[in-house]
Each structure stands twice: as C-alpha cells, then as structure tokens.
C-alpha cells in the first residue's frame, strides 16, 4: 500500500496554521473560518480514504494487518541512536486518524458559530489547526522520540487554547497549571525514553515491539540490568506511563484537567475530551507488546490499577460538581481510567486480547459521545451564559435539538443498548471479569455512578426547576447544530462497528460476541443509576439536599475534589517557592555573591594597608631590595644543597 499521501494529513493543518498565524491581521474572520474548516475537511477525507485503503483494499497479509512505515533521519545522536521523522500506519494509528480528523472537523464547524464575533477569531482557528497538526503527528509517530516531540507540541497547543481568554486570571492560571503538571509528567516520560534508548539501543517502535515466535528479541531480554529489584526496562515503562498519566489526567496527575475547562468549550470537546487526553492510552497501546511481555506485565498491572482507581475517584467527584463542564471533565477522567483499566487487564493473543480491543473501541466511541456532550454543553452555555446548574432548568422547551442529542450522548455513556457506549463498555467489563474480579467490580460500580451523575446533569439542565431567564434561551444556529446531529448519529452507530475484526493486540482479529449475562448486569446497574437520578432530579425537590446533608463530611470532601488542588498548592507555594527558591535567591545574594564581594573588599583593605610600602623613600626601597636578595639567595642555597 502506498502511504506517502498520508503525510499530507498532518501537513495540511500545519499549512493552515502558518497561513492564519502569520497573516492573522490581514485575513478576515469570515474567511479564516472557511480556511480552517476546508483544511480539516481535506485531512478528514484523506484519513477516511486511508482507512478504506488500509482495512478493505490492502487488507491482511498472512492473517495479520501489516504495518507500513515511511521515515527519514531527523537527527543523529550516535551511530545507532537517531531520531526519525515519519509515518507509521497500523490499525490503531488509522483509527486515531479517523477520530482526530472527525472530531476536529466537527469542532471547526461548530466553532464558526460558537466563536462568532470573538475578537481573536482568526487566532482561534490558527491554534485549532496547530493542535490538529500536532495531534496527527503524535498519532503517526514512528518512534518514541517523535511521539515525545509531538507530545510536547500538543501540550503547548493545549496551553495556548486553555489560556485563550488571556485577560481572565483564572484562564491564565489554568493554562499554566495544565502545562506545568504535564511537563512534570513528561520529565518522567523523557527519562523513560532515555532508559529505553540506552538499554535497547533504539527508539523505533517496530524494533521495540517486535515479537518473534521463538521468544527472541528485545522484548525477551529485559532481564539484563535491574534497579531496586525490577528490570530497568520495567522502570522505563513505568516512567513512560507517568508521561501518559499526565496527559491523560490519571490520578494523581489529574488536577489540571478540571481547570482546563477555562478554555472555550469547543476546545474542551476537542482536546480535553476526545483527542489529546487519550494520548496516554494511545501511548500504552502503542507500546503494548513491551508492557505485556517485559517482566510478565508488571508495568501493565500498574496501568490497570491506576486506571481503575482514577475511574472510581473521578466518578465520585463528578457526583457533586455544579459546573456542568467540570462534571464532564471528571467524567472524561473516569472514562479514560476505564480505557487504561481495559489495557491493563488485556493479554496479547487472540480473544484473550479483548481488553486491548475494548480499550481502543471505547476510545473511539467515547470520543464521539463525549465530544457531543461537550458541544451540547457549549450550546447550553451559549444560550444561558453560565456554566452552573443553578442557572439552568427546563431547557428542553427552548432547545429541542440540543436536548435530544444530549440525551443520546447521555444514554451512550450510561451504557444503555443499543447506543455506542454500551458495546464498548461491555467489552471492557468482560475483559476485566476474565482477568481480575476486583477490577471488574470497580468497573461495574463506576458504570452505575456514571449513569447517575450523567442523568443528574441531563435532568438538571433540561428538566427540573422552571428557571426565569432574562433573555429567553434559543436553539443554536445551524453551524452548531449540525455537528451535534452528526455526532449523535455516530453515538448511535459507532457501537456496531466490528472492532474485534480490525483492531486487536496481535493485529490478527478475532470473532467478537456479546456476553449476555455480563451485559445484562452492566445494563441493569446503569438503569439503576438513571432511575435514581430520575427520582432525585427530574422534578424540583429537596431529596438531593437532604441526602448531601446526611453525608455532610463526605459530601464536602467530594465537592472539594478531596482537596488535591490545595495539596498541590501547598507543595508548590509553600515548599518549592518558599523553602527552595527563596532561600536559593537569598543564598546567592548573601553567600555566593557575598564571598566574591568579600574578596574584593579584602583586596581593597589589604591594599590600603600595604600602600604605605610605596613610600617614595629610597632607604625603604634599598632595604626591601637587600632583604629580597637575601631571601632569594637563601632559597637557592637551600635548593642547591
């Protein structure tokens, strides 16, 4: 299969970024919106064509989907270590191309309505294109260093977009927080890459992941060096996962994601729900053979538990948040935890690799319905000019399209058949059930919580109390409604894609089937959640308040997100600034500089003292001369004898 045209998929958004970025002042807003949409539409069309070619025309070779690579050396470190730039085409990268270009295109279209009249309209589209370029580059990366490069670039695009309303203090703080927290995670990622580079002698994914039937190759020689009882490669994988956990907002590096909601809502839909935040999942999937085979999957277990815990933790917090975007943010964190969990319980071969397939499947369906939820939330915020549930209610009367599409997305995420979320979530629970019962029950519980908080949100926005609005809310314009409808359709049909045929850990595909008992339990749990939400929030009543009062302490902790923000603030403000940085500044002034000054001052003092020697009296000079000669003579005599 000829893959050279695929390089244009990321390059077109780059070109759009440069065009809009450099001629920011000259291009009229109306035109820049069209340029952005057109660019992404071209990329999306190319991606769909590539997917069609890859899965249906080129197809399997010897029973597996082949990997196509085209690359060129970008920089040499040593004779063997180098950074390549290129594109790698395999099932998951093709799938990600579809996800990224589809969501990005929808967000571009939506933004033409949502950002209408904004002073930085052109700049906004430039940033969106920059992000799309970086994300597509990340997806297509052929080696660890290339993925790291684009990893940083998506980070900076995210920074720019969160801080888009840069005059708002909270937006600036959120942008900084997102960048610094992920940078801290990337510090681990980079060390992990360096370790892999040193011990494996390559950064290349294909070489790193090469599974030989005889059990030879890098994957099986991880035992050469160890550190604190674990193989160094395991350490590297843990550190690489630290990078992934930072980007994917896994506990305890999740604190930036809720604040990132300060960005414009289309940005939250694109970056902080559907694409960038799943980069961590993609990274683990990309290195899956390493995670699975090295030291019998030690690092993979960590992935599973971190994912499961984050999933539970975030779902609990989501129960009590009142800012609708923050509820969705914690929901995103929870669902990504799900994907991590699925990867963590997966095996490699055949049907045992169901977790891997489920994770990618959920990534795909989640991208569709979560983007839809965010865009729907954006439509609501656009109409009522507030993020808070207290300012909403009964909006179904004013916004029918938003209402229906939001409901579809909520049913999808709650796992109600036949919507997309049901199919992928079911596969995750099946995978967990087969491998680790504890994680299965965590997952099941989270499914119930998810249904509850999502319908709390839905009823709170579209039903519930009759709110008096200053301006009567109205349905969003077509540019915003179209993406909602499109994504709603996707949220219904995406579940019927036979993922197990296309995307599996060993790339061979297997026969997928529905595990009826497990599915019934999962759906039942979801329905319980929905019904509870219906009782609490459908009509205005004080049940919820009574309930939260009964759980006073726990409610407070949950509402304050278990005080993690405060903890981090304490560490950065009190410890790093006051206990490290300030003393260093003082130490520098007082001791380091002080010593240098001291030497200078001493020199002045000494020269004051000895300037009397230069008295101008001939007798003194004669005496110095004679005594000098005597000393030199003594030294010479001593040395000669």
């Amino acid at each position: 299969m000829d893959i050279s045209y695929i390089v244009f998929i990321p390059l077109i958004p780059l070109a759009v970024f440069l065009l809009l970025g450099i001629f920011n002042q000259q291009i009229k807003p109306a035109v820049s919106g069209y340029i952005g949409v057109l660019g992404l539409a071209t990329s999306a069309a190319l991606s769909y064509y590539a997917a069609y070619q890859y899965f249906f025309v080129s197809g399997k070779v010897d029973g597996v989907y082949p990997t196509f690579v085209e690359k060129t050396v970008w920089m040499n470190f040593t004779d063997t270590l180098h950074i390549d730039m290129g594109i790698l085409i395999d099932p998951i990268s093709v799938m990600m191309l579809i996800v990224v270009t589809t969501i990005s295109l929808m967000v571009h279209i939506y933004s033409r309505g949502y950002m209408h009249g904004d002073a930085g309209y052109t700049k906004f589209f430039a940033y969106l294109s920059l992000f799309s370029f970086s994300m597509l580059g990340l997806v297509l990366a052929t080696n660890l260093f290339q993925i790291y490069i684009f990893w940083e670039l998506v980070g900076v695009s995210s920074f720019l977009l969160i801080g888009y309303y840069y005059t708002k203090t909270s937006a600036v703080a959120a942008a900084k927080k997102a960048f610094i927290v992920t940078r801290f995670a990337d510090f681990g990622f980079l060390i992990g890459i360096l370790i892999v580079g040193y011990y494996a002698g390559t950064f290349d994914f294909q070489t790193l992941n090469a599974v030989n039937p005889e059990g030879e190759g890098l994957l099986f020689q991880w035992g050469a060096s160890s550190f604190m009882g674990l193989s160094v490669i395991t350490w590297a994988l843990i550190l690489i996962f630290m990078g992934g956990a930072g980007k994917s907002a896994m506990f305890p590096l999740h604190i930036w994601l809720p604040d990132a909601m300060e960005g414009p809502t289309p940005v939250s839909a694109l970056i902080h729900a559907a694409t960038m935040v799943v980069a961590g999942v993609y990274l683990v999937a990309r290195l899956f053979p390493m995670y699975y085979f090295v030291e019998d999957g030690f690092a993979l277990n960590i992935v599973a538990y971190v994912g499961a815990f984050s999933s539970l933790f975030a779902a609990i917090i989501a129960l009590t948040q009142t800012d609708i975007k923050r509820v969705l943010a914690f929901s995103t964190m929870s669902q990504i935890g799900y994907m991590m969990l699925a990867l963590g319980v997966s095996s490699y071969k055949g049907h045992e690799g169901v977790g891997y397939m489920a994770s990618m499947f959920h990534l795909f369906t989640h991208a569709m319905f979560k983007a839809l939820l965010f865009l729907g939330a954006g439509s609501v915020i656009h109409a009522v000019h507030s993020n808070y549930l207290k300012d909403m209610g009964s909006l179904r009367k004013y916004m029918p399209i938003t209402n229906i599409t939001f409901l579809i997305a909520a049913l999808a995420i709650a796992g109600v058949p036949p919507f997309a979320g049901f199919w992928s979530k079911d596969e995750i629970l099946v995978a967990a059930f087969e491998k680790n019962q504890l994680l299965y029950f965590v997952g099941l519980f989270v499914a119930g919580l998810t249904a509850f908080y999502m319908f709390r949100l839905y009823f709170g926005i579209f039903w519930g109390k009759e709110t008096k609005y200053h301006h009567e809310p109205h349905e969003s314009p077509m540019s915003m409604a179209f993406p909602l409808l499109f994504l709603a359709i996707m949220s219904i049909v995406a579940g019927f894609i036979p993922f197990s045929e296309f995307i599996t850990a060993d790339k061979a595909g297997f026969e997928g089937h529905l595990d009826l008992p497990l599915a019934a339990v999962a759906v039942g749990t979801g329905l319980v959640g929905i019904i509870l939400a219906w009782i609490f929030y459908k009509k205005e009543n004080d049940l919820a308040e009574r309930f939260s009062n009964a759980f006073g302490m726990f409610y407070k902790w949950t509402f304050h997100k278990f005080y993690f923000d405060e903890l981090y603030l304490f560490i950065t403000r009190k410890i790093i600034f006051n206990l490290i940085s300030a003393p260093i500044a003082k130490f520098d002034k007082k001791y380091v500089d002080g010593t240098m000054e001291g030497i200078g001052n001493k020199t002045v003092i000494i020269s004051e003292k000895i300037k009397g020697l230069q008295s101008g009296r001939l007798q003194d000079y004669a005496m110095f001369f004679v005594s000098g000669v005597v000393v030199v003579a003594l030294v010479f005599i001593y040395l000669w004898t």
Binding site: V73, M75, F77, F145, L153, I180, R183, I191, L194, D588
Partner: protein, 498 residues
Amino acid sequence: MDILSLFVIVPVLTVLALVFSKGLKQARLISMIGSFIQLGMAINLLFAYFRERAVDKSVMLFTQDYVWFKNFNVHYAIGVDGISVALLLLTAIVVLAGVFISWKTDDLPKEFFVSLLVLATGVYGFFISIDLFTMFVFYEIAVIPMYLLIGIWGSGPKEYSAMKLTLMLMGASAVLMVGVLGIYFNSNADGGALTFNILEIAKVHIPFEAQKLFFPLTFVGFAVLGALFPFHTWSPDGHASAPTAVSMLHAGVLMKLGGYGVFRIAMFLLPLGAIEWSWFFIILSATGVIYGAFGALKQTDLKYINAYSSVSHLGMVLFALLMLNKTAWNGAILQSLSHGFMTALFFALIGMIYGRTHTRDITKLGGLLKVMPFISVIYVIAGMASLGLPGFSGFIAEMNIFVGAFQHEGMFYRVATIISVSAIVVTAVYILRVLGIMLMGEVKNDEYLNLPKATWFEITGILLLLIPMLGMGVAPLWLSDMTMDSIQPFIQGVLNHL
C-alpha cells in the same frame, strides 16, 4: 588575503570608518554596513567550508600561520572547523541584530558602536585562532570593551556592575593565564620545541601530574565566562546594568567563549586532567543547572530572570562537555548556538519592553499581549524555545545532552543527569510565570494603552535571531552532522584514555 583574517580586518576597518563618522545616523549606517558584510562573509564561509570539507579531511581548514614573536615561538595561527564556522555565523547574526536594536542610541553613538565592534573583533579573532597566545589576546580584546560599554551606557548601579564583571572576568583570565603558561611550558614534554599551537601541543604527551595541576586552572578560567556555579554572580548584575545590545552580545556570544575554550583547550590539550577532574566539575555544573533555574523562579526583574536562566542553560553546556562523549559534546555546541540566539532575542525584547514602559519589574507589567501584540507574541515564542519546545533549537541541544549524559552507567552519572533533566520542569515554571504575569491578564497601567508599535529595525533584529532558532529546531540534521563531524579529533584524546 585569506578568508579568515578578513573576519578580524573588516571589523577593524569598520571601527576606523566609525572614527571619522559624525552623529548617530552615520555611525549606525557604517556599523550596519560593516556587520552586513561580516554576515555575508560568515555565510560565504559556511558554504566554502562545506566545499572544502568534501575534499580535505584535516582537523582545521583554511589554516594560516605567521610568526609573531620568534623568541617565544608565538604565531598568529588561524583555522576553522565546523564548530567555529557555526559560532562565527552566530556572532555575525547577533552583532548585526545588536546594531539594529541599538538604532536609537543617542548618547555618544560613535563611541558606543566603536566599543561594540571592538568587542566583536575580539570574539571573531578568538573563534578563528588555533594558537593559544593569539587566542588569549583576542579573549582580552573581547572582555575589556565590556567595562566601558556597561560603565558608560549602562543603567542602574552601572559603575558597580561594570567593575564587578570586569574584575571577576579578569580574575578568571589570570587563572587562565597560569593554565595556558602551564600548558606552554609542558609542550616540549616529548622533546620538541615549546609551542603555543594547539594542534602541535595535542600531539605531545603532557605528564599526568602537570595535567592534573593545570586542568582545573584552565577549566575554571574559561568556565567563569560560561557562568560556572559559584562564579556566576557577575552575570545577573552585569546584565541588569548593561545596555540592550551589550547584554545581547555578552550573553549571546561572549559567554560562549567559555564553553568553547573548555573543549578546544582544556579538554583537548589536557585529556588526562579532564578525566581526573570531571566528577568534581560535574557536581558544580549540575548544581548550576538546577540552581540557576530555581534562582530565576523568584526574581521579578526581567533581566535578572534571564541572567539566572542563562546560568542554568550554560551550566548545561559545561555539564555536557564534562560528560566526555561525542553526543553530549555535540549537545553542548548546539546548546551554545541555541542559547546564543535565544538569549539575544530575550534581551532584545526586554530592551523593547523597557524602552516603552520604563520598567523591567514584571509585577508592574501586565496584559502586554493586548497593548504590544507583536513583541509579546515573540516573547511567548522565545519563552517556548527557552523551555525546550520541539521545533526550536533548544530542544535538539538538550536532547543531545541528555542522551549523551545517559551513555554513562553508574549511579553518580545517573543522578547528576536526572537532576539536570529535572531542570526542564523548573524552567517551564519560571518561563510560564513571566508569561502569565507580564503578558497575560488585565492591563495594569492605563499609560500602557498607547504604546508605540514595533519599528522596522526592531522587527528586523528580532527576525534575524528568530529564524535561525526555528531553522535549527525544524531541520537540525545538516548542522548537527557538521558539528558532530568536527568533534571527533578533539575528543579522541579523552576517549583514548577512558
């Protein structure tokens, strides 16, 4: 006339022309023309170098040798390799950008440009010399105009800062002089004549005891200029008081002489000493990397922030050189180049902001993105480059350094490396702090609402520095292969003994 000596002759001629000029307009025009010619020469040299390198594999190309003082066997010996070609290009670009940034110097313009170009002459001469004595002479030529430039055209406590800077650099030169003489008097260890020619000395087996004694002197002598912790304190005060173009030239080019001297002289001529002492200086330089970054966190004066940032970034250069392998060395050279462009750009921008708002205190500034968009956007870009964003020069340099440093097994090296890598986080914090406080947020002062736009000469200066940074970061292969190729002969001595 040979192509290299022109690098010294053209600035000297420019200085002579300046002596006969009248007023600011003539002075800046002459300086601009002179610097343009130099830039042209540097670009021409780059291509000439590629052509020559294809056929000539000797260590130094375009070599010339004239006897200077017969008695001491002092020669005026010059030659270049890929590294010096790259650094000459850096110098030419920074000098030209500096001239543009100083377009409106109204106080004693003629004398200002004369000092600036004398400084440049010294730097050019330093980079083309392959004779220790010649090199040392040019080094002093570069350092001395600094005193005048800060003392006369500076701001704040300028006499104090100028004195501090000059004294510390002179103190370092004294130490260096001892080191250089130590090398010279040992250059007959194998029975030949005493010589200052570094290529000749490199063939000599200087006794281990002498290497052990003179390496730290030579290293420290150069490294003070490269802001080695704890000898960096001249840098924040010096930069804070220096006029914009001087800060640009000083941080952008002059401080690079330190790292250059370390590998060209200290490590090349005293490889055993380098191996013996590397652990000690690794501790100092790794401390400098993290210490500078933390130091920058608390400062509120833009120039202090940038000066501490330079301590951190240049600490990385010394750290990489001490790792004693090709990849790390290449990283050190790329970092020198990258930091040169980046820090010059920073100082230029700081000058522009100060020129408009009359303050460098970030707590008094705010919302500049709104009132001076062009300068602010470039500041954001420079900040991103400084924190090592891929696509800019800093990233490729740092990655070479880290990969190189990771070639050493052993707990000591690993810990030192991880400490240095952790600076990428702290760097992000202090850079974003400045961006957040100064550029974003609400405009704090209504007087700032009507500030003048960036002028054509400012934009030219900025682009001159920005384009190479981007070029290096996007397509690093040709440059990094060129420098890597030239490292081999210089590191061979060390590698033979490891």
